[in-house]
Amino acid sequence: MRLTKILPALALALGLASGASAADKLKIGTEGAYPPFNMIDEKGKVGGFDVDIAMALCAEMKVTCDIVTQDWDGIIPALVQKKFDAIVASMSITDERKKAVAFTDHYYTNKLQFIAPKASSFSPALDALKGKVLGAQRATISGTWLEDKVGKTATVKLYDTQENAYLDLAAGRLDGVLGDKFVNYEWLKSDAGKAFEFKGEPVFDDDKIGIAVRKKDDKLRQRLNDALAAIRANGTYEKINAKYFPFSIY
């Protein structure tokens, strides 16, 4: 009699315990419009460097992860409002953003570099940028750089996605686009980017890219840092890097 009472209780306790481990599920937010770092393929699947890194980290932490996509300029508010638990979306670690979220160690280093038509004599010197029409994605450090450095002397156009900035560069509405070097690199390789090239040296070359988590989730941040160190050490990171770039971007 007693046993029959205990058994369901035990089962319930076990169920709860397994429920707790099943709850160890992470939702990862990314943008999905930033090739080759994160993009959506023809079948609607999300992929790219960021997504591969996120999956490798999840495997390392032994948790199941769901990738969800979110428009770039709403991605931090969505994290804060718990729509997902971490942002793996090529996000630069900046002081402005640190007011809103916490960052892991960096998982790659970005540079900002202008691209412009091959035929133009475009130069990234501040003086030469006067009066030019320049584009960047909204809510990125490229956008911030343009607003801060040439916002008063040049026309700055901000786009919802990087792809739209490229479209306008190709259409001739822009004299140049400032963007992440590796993303620009990918676009220059494409058909649409044939007539364009990098101009001058990167205007900023120590842009550390990290994973953003909510400020209160310090445990998650620690676990991600540990996992990051682990995949750096065991060669997983290198493999993913080589899949996208013939040089190290760490």
């Binding site: 508010p77 402005e96 956008g143 911030t144 156009k157 259409a171 001739g172």
Partner: protein, 226 residues
């Protein structure tokens, strides 16, 4: 709630609001001008004359404004022929692209409003006009259209307010109207609630002003507003 950030960015938001008002007023007026011939042709007894406006209205009402904006701004500019044409100085400009698209879009809706209003003019009044010896055009000009405008006015004011909200989509083609400005400010401050609240209040003020303008207009034209 951080009200400081609202105060700090208010001048920028007001600049954006001004551009919003500009887009709505110009596109609503241009749309209205375009809608008259469309509506008249749409009411024509001749099928070949009805077909064009029918197709136009079907297309512009049947597709989202966002898609139309993208087609005009990003789509047309992909063609070398367009970039080489004399229209490029205008199509190159995001402001013109937004204005043209919004005017074409709203014209389709206004044309349908006018068509409904023209058809709502009591038959007896038209017959009375004819019996006084007025021709078809004279009756249109003196009786039907003035009556139709009065009938259509409340629905038109509704459409203008819808365009006010539709104008937020212009931010997707780089225009810094109210929504675009708000999003750009949020990108720096990460305070979406405060800034969107301020933008929302500005939208309310603009629509309040529009409602007042239409109330005055309705009074003058003798459609008794309630």
């Amino acid at each position: 709630m951080n009200f400081e950030v609202i105060v700090e960015n208010l001048p920028k938001l007001l600049d954006g609001a001004l551009l919003t008002v500009e887009l709505v007023v110009f596109s609503s007026l241009a749309g209205l001008a375009l809608a008259f011939p469309l509506a008249l042709a749409r009411c024509s007894p001749r099928p070949w004359l009805r077909a064009g406006p029918w197709a136009y209205i079907f297309f512009f009402r049947g597709t989202p404004l966002l898609v139309q904006l993208f087609l005009v701004y990003y789509g047309l500019s992909q063609f070398e022929a367009v970039r080489a044409s004399i229209f490029w100085p205008i199509l190159r400009d995001a402001w013109w692209c937004a204005l043209i698209t919004m005017a074409l879009h709203t014209a389709a809706y206004i044309a349908e409003i006018l068509r409904g209003a023209i058809q709502a003019v009591p038959r007896g009044e038209i017959e009375a006009a004819h019996s006084l010896g007025m021709g078809v055009w004279q009756a249109q000009r003196r009786i039907v259209l003035p009556r139709a405008v009065r009938i259509a006015l409340p629905a038109y004011s509704n459409e203008v307010i819808l365009m006010l909200k539709g104008s937020a989509l212009a931010s997707t083609i780089t225009l810094l109207e109210l929504t675009g400005t708000a999003r750009t400010v949020i990108a720096r401050t990460y305070m979406p609630i405060e800034i969107f609240l301020a933008a929302g209040v500005l939208y309310l003020l603009i629509s309040f002003a529009l409602v007042q303008v239409f109330r005055l207009l309705e009074r003058r034209l003798g459609t008794y507003a309630c």
